[in-house]
């Protein structure tokens, strides 16, 4: 290996800036695959949106890997974090949904799915699923509901929530635009579906500008009493 003259100090010895001896790398069962998920609840609708980039370190594995999964006609889940755990977790949820449907003869409601997911995640308290989940759907009264989770199963119902790699950038923007936080003397109008969809598109465009793990395309699932509708919007691919 060529060592340039800059590597030598005044007295002729090689300058050492860091430890260059043997390093032991332990196998980590986790990997971080990036991605951002967002959910917004309105009066009679809910939105779950995610980008479609799957990355690891400096590489992009796929540009078409959306992170929203449809569970029932009234519920969509967004999972970001470690893609292996996302896949297994959604398979387990779908299996439990089927078992519930067969034994109770009805589909699970959004609130019930959230409570069940909490116990599934806590069941792995000492080797957690490295997944940040957000469930969006309609509750029994037809109003929009968003449930956000942490990796070990703590959850609560929100009006809006961002999760994943760009969550720290998006959450303050949502706090301001949907929650009207940090604004004085402002008229607080309820959020219409069109405005919410446009806001989500703008928010993801900003996220793609500044977060390297977010980009390629945006998939929005719009949940109303008619069912689940999908929209795909392109984002920056760089």
């Amino acid at each position: 290996m060529m060592i340039s003259a800059q590597a030598y100090g005044g007295n002729g010895k090689v300058k050492e800036y860091h430890y260059t001896g043997p390093v032991e790398h332990k196998f980590s069962p986790y990997a971080f695959n990036g991605g951002t998920v967002l959910a917004v609840a309105g009066e009679d609708f809910a939105l779950v949106a995610s980008d479609t980039r799957l990355s690891e370190g400096y590489s992009i594995h796929s540009r078409d890997s959306p992170k929203c999964y449809k569970l029932t006609d009234t519920t969509v889940i967004g999972c970001s974090g470690f893609h292996g755990d996302c896949l297994t977790l959604t398979k387990i949820i779908e299996a439990r949904l089927k078992m519930y449907k067969h034994s109770n003869n009805k589909s699970m409601t959004s609130g019930a799915i959230a409570a069940m997911l909490s116990t599934i995640l806590y069941g792995r308290r000492f080797f957690p699923y490295y997944v940040y989940n957000i469930i969006g759907g309609l509750d029994e009264e037809g109003r929009g509901a968003v449930y956000s989770f942490d990796p070990v199963g703590s959850y609560q119902r929100d009006t809006y929530k961002a999760g994943g790699s760009a969550s720290a950038m998006l959450q303050p923007l949502l706090d301001n635009q949907i929650g009207f936080k940090n604004m004085e003397n402002v008229e607080q109008l309820p959020l219409s579906q069109e405005k919410a969809v446009q806001l989500v598109k703008d928010v993801f465009i900003s996220a793609a500008e500044r977060d390297v793990y977010t980009g390629d395309a945006l998939k929005i699932c719009i949940i109303t009493k008619e069912g689940v509708r999908e929209e795909i919007v392109p984002l920056r691919k760089d």
């Binding site: 980590s28 069962p29 986790y30 971080f32 297994t88 398979k91 387990i92 299996a95 439990r96 078992m99 034994s103 909490s118 116990t119 599934i120 995640l121 806590y122 069941g123 308290r125 000492f126 080797f127 957690p128 490295y130 956000s148 942490d150 990796p151 070990v152 199963g153 703590s154 959850y155 609560q156 929100d158 720290a168």
Partner: protein
């Protein structure tokens, strides 16, 4: 099912349930999902065990990664809080902030840290968010089962012991639960205690011009849960004005029963096994600041207004000094009738009010100082 095997879905059942499997009609030894809820309190969870499992092929999960230390986890669980609970002559006050933080980020500014377990017991949780939420659910279930089996409610001390015993297998792991159980022991039909309730608007003792917050009367709602079991429940919904002579009687009666079977109680339970009983308990990163305020203002003979104001002030000061506490204040008041919840109050307004008050004080001090100087000059002239 292959997926269940890989994920160890049914594995956890083998470890902890003491009962043996019964073969169902088909002759299989599987446990169906319907049987999950039967025996053990932790049918879905078991503490990590290092023993080898000979009857099952070792999967990657069970042998190598049976417990992942917190250093290997790529994320941090939420911590940092101020919660407090204290007893006084008219019940128990439980108060907490609403900030859930995760390292440097606020995960949730409106989390609920005080959760009612039944009509006369409320638990303040601090520590890891998921642990607190799930263990509170387990405790609620176990207490309900106890009540159904034994036809009486478990006391606060009993609930503390139960929670402590349930957490004991997890000692040494990174389960972090620090719960303060605040409740009222005893029958709610005691007439002496009933008449000291007042259902009215609560105004802060400090503020004169602020918005008064009404205590929403949820005691009736809370008591309905227990009505089906205890036939002697009499839920009084009439508003009764506070009668001074009766309240003196009450103080004597409650004081005499304090230390006896019934009355207000606070108990602290920690996941490393610590159990404490006392009159004032505060937990969390902001607890030193809260203790300072509480120690200064607490008296057994406080009125409800004074107690609520004290609790609110303690949380407010703690949120001011502690970075991990903040946002809103939740306040619960538990009496013999059950728990009542005060509306959640945003502390942002309180900071502005505080600044206004400081400005006023400074102006007044200025005026007095000028007045004194004016007087001195006059006196000086008079002497000469």
């Amino acid at each position: 099912m292959a997926l269940q095997d890989v994920c160890g879905f049914l594995e956890t059942l083998d470890d902890i349930s003491p009962c043996t499997y019964q073969p169902n009609e088909m002759g299989y030894m599987w446990r169906t999902p319907l049987e999950f809820d039967r025996d053990s309190a932790f049918h879905f969870l078991s503490p990590p065990q290092q023993c080898s499992r000979k009857n099952r092929a070792p999967t990657l999960f069970s042998s190598t990664f049976s417990s992942l230390s917190p250093h290997q986890q790529p994320f941090q669980l939420s911590h940092g809080t101020t919660t407090l609970g204290f007893i006084f002559q008219d019940g128990v006050i439980a108060a907490a902030d609403t900030r859930a933080s995760c390292k440097g980020l606020i995960c949730c500014p409106i989390s609920q840290k005080i959760m009612p377990i039944h009509s006369h017991l409320v638990v303040n949780t601090s520590g890891s968010g998921a642990d607190c939420m799930l263990w509170e659910r387990i405790l609620t279930r176990e207490m309900r089962l106890y009540q159904l089996r034994h036809r009486k409610r478990l006391s606060v001390n009993g609930a503390a012991k139960l929670l402590s015993m349930m957490l004991h297998p997890f000692k040494g792991t990174n389960v972090c639960v620090a719960a303060t159980l605040c409740g009222w022991d005893g029958e709610e039909t005691q007439k002496t205690i009933q008449s000291c309730m007042e259902i009215s608007d609560v105004k802060e003792a400090v503020e004169q011009d602020s918005n008064g917050s009404a205590i929403s009367d949820e005691s009736a709602q809370g008591s309905v849960k227990m009505a089906s079991v205890n036939e002697q429940d009499e839920i009084s919904k009439d508003t009764q004005a506070l009668n001074p002579t009766v309240s003196d009687q009450n103080t004597k009666n409650v004081l005499s029963t304090f230390g006896g079977r019934s009355g207000p109680r606070v108990c602290y339970v920690c996941s490393d096994g610590l159990q404490l009983k006392g009159e004032i308990i505060s937990v969390g990163s902001g607890s030193p600041y809260a203790y300072a305020v509480l120690d200064d203002g607490w008296r057994w003979g406080m009125t409800v207004d004074e107690a609520v104001a004290l609790a609110r002030e303690a949380v407010f000061r703690a949120t001011h000094w502690d970075a991990y506490s903040g946002n809103n204040v939740d306040l619960f008041h538990i009496t013999a009738h059950g728990w009542r919840r005060r509306d959640r109050e945003d502390l942002k307004e309180e900071y502005y009010r505080e600044r206004e008050r400081e400005k006023k004080k400074i102006k007044e001090r200025e005026k007095e100082r000028q007045k004194k100087e004016g007087d001195k000059l006059v006196e000086g002239e008079g002497d000469i």
